[in-house]
Amino acid sequence: MDKINFLKPDKNNIYVYLYLGVFLFFVSIADVSFNSFFGVNATAFLPDSISFFLPLILGVMGLHLIRIEYSGIQNLDLINKKINTNTFNAFLTMIIIFIIIKATPPALSWFIFDANISGDSKDACTGSGACWTYIKVWFNRFMYGMYPNEYQWRINVSFIFLIALAFVGYFSGERLKKYLTLYYVIIYPIIAYVLIYFLISGGSFGLNWVETGAWGGLSLTFIVSFFCLIFCFPIGMMLALGRRSSLPTVRYCSIGFIEFWRGVPLITVLFMSSVMFPMFLPDGFFLDKLVRVIIAISLFEAAYVAEVIRGGLQALPRGQYDAAKSLGMGYWKMHIFVILPQALKLVIPGIANTFLALVKDTPLIFVVGLLEIAGMLGLAKTNPKWLGFAMEGYVFASIIFFIICYSMSKYSYNLEAKYKTER
């Protein structure tokens, strides 16, 4: 047996190092876990400062002992490579493990074990954890805003219908494929508008009129982002083409437009749409608040979309333009059939990011008095019967937005992979 050197573990006495290192590591984990889950400080007999740092020191020592190069054990090598390359890394690893152990019990008890969901008033919330009763009671308001309860089926029906129509592309036959772009760009938005106008807004066919001020909650978020998405894309595309145009007037107008909208914050744009824009309209001419907001956000995001698409146009090699021109294509034919399909493919991630930004910007419409989910939360938390539940509300809304935005960004990765062509 060779001499055992604890400062420099090697392969010869591998099991001595391994058992000792794993033992130290688990002692440190156990110490922190006891402390965190049962509130027992196993090392209370030591001075405070030593007791506090002891698990860290033991853990780093343990990791040091199992750091054996080319040990011949596959899993050990993998662990060393992943979390234990040197002392500094071992130190960071231990800190992260401890934070996870420390944070788990309070988080779990807040979310689940001490939380309440039964009952339908504030008195039902007796635990020290979250009061999900609050979310349960206000759920309809968070989803539909002030929209009257008995008419909420109208929102549900139109959303289900719209989602179903959005999937037409997947089921259409080969023969109809060429009309799909037309469908998505023109027909689908018109159907959506008609549905929302007649079903959600009402006022005809025996449906009661619901003014847009009563719309709200998550459904409003969807409506606003949906229409802004549809409008900002073509406007952005035209602006991008305008900025690359050889006609000076068109180019400078596009540059001015894009730079103006990109230079100001959205909140001032919304201010403008609510207080300044009515001054610019003829007397007696009235434009609904929601429509004004959708126009403002569409123009704002169109400038960002334009810059993204311009990036794609610039990235295309000149040869593509020359080839299209040599085939005798005109400006529009060249762009629609040759340039844009390739350029848009290149900028899918950028466009997805802009759309994500748009969805994340919708809460700002509270400025003009439209209350989507964040606005409804603000209203709910000032309700005298339900004071003191701000945390639950914001956690709930954050989770919803996280799910929406995260799945959108994952979907854009898929799209990017799907349309990737080798050059």
């Binding site: 490579k81 992943k82 979390i83 390359t85 890394n89 960071l92 690893t93 992260i96 493990i97 050889s246 006609l247 000076p248 007037t249 068109v250 107008c253 730079e259 103006f260 990109r262 230079g263 100001v264 914050p265 959205l266 909140i267 001032t268 201010f271 403008m272 207080v275 300044m276 001054m279 610019f280 309209l281 003829p282 007397d283 994500l356 969805v359 994340k360 910007d361 919708t362 809460p363 700002l364 509270f366 400025v367 964040a374 939360l377 603000g378 938390k381 701000a390 945390m391 914001y394 956690v395 809304a397 954050s398 937005f401 996280f402 935005c405 995260y406 960004s409």
Partner: protein, 383 residues
Amino acid sequence: MNYKIRKIIPQLATLLFIILVFGFFTINAQMNMANRGIDFGYGFLTQESSFDVQFSLIEYDGSHSYARAYLVGLLNTLLVSFIGIIFSTIIGVIVGIARLSPNYLIEKTAAVYVEFFRNIPLLLQIFFWYFAALRALPLPEKTEPFFGVFFLTIKGLYMPAFIWNNLDIFLYSIIASIISIISIRIYAKSLREKKGKQIPVFTTSLSILILLPLLTFLVGGVTLDFEIPVLKQLAKTAFIYDGGVSIPPELIALTLALSLYTATFIAECVRAGIQGVSKGQKEAAASIGLTTNQILKLVIMPQALRIIIPPTTNQYLNLTKNSSLAAAIAYPDLVLVFAGTAMMQTGRAIEIVSITMLTYLSISLSISVLMNWYNKKIAIKEK
């Protein structure tokens, strides 16, 4: 001939369209204002504002003019942007490097942080910090101080104030040390490029930066005292900290949300920048015998920075624009003070919204002009 006409007609159409739209708006605006008896003009800026602002960097009360109120708002916006930029850069760089760490746990933690914070709307985050997290802080009389001098309470953060004697000498010494550091760096660079010699620039600079100001304390008669905030009872249950510097909770919530949110984007820029330097560069540098530090300093960083800086500046601009969300939690920034309170009082929508927009526009445009100049300067000149 035909070719020329085809070039002119679209341009004329664009011009005509723009003129028509603007003309339509202007005529309507004039008619509307005439109907309501409002006159257009910026004369109101010199009038007395007669409203108060909670938090101001310069002296301000109701007797000052609207122009002064504008300045108060602008300074508050710049303050929160400045603090936000510093914090988001620090967090962003750390997280960006952590995402490239060979350590699996570190990399995943950083990834979770980035994915989580950038997928939640900034406004919700601001609300969360302001209405949920900071409201859970203790009342002034129950708070436990950090290090005996920092008091984090529901009414804000109270910090000791600095009381300087002979501050100007201290400032001069800092300026002098910065100038000497810059000249040393220039000298070192020319030495390196001409003779290939290396001198320890970093240690020299650091020692100058510490030693020179320290000298002013010992010799120059500069002294520094702290004014520590003290708990004061206003009424039976109302306590407040007196003295020192107080930072309102609005500013804390806004800074936290802005820097945590923007840091995720900066982290991605940093990661992309470091990954953008090809491996061959590192290997080539190692093969000519540079040390790890020299590789990082002389080969990797100059190239990575070229990729990192432009998008990061863009993020700084975004942060500045996003700071206008302050209006949602009543932090008196430009939008709240000027486009909010001042507009309510004067009713001059067109003038005030246009001034506010122009302010943000000039900040953005000047920074992007600066950026374009910088990009041109650092672009790799290919032959």
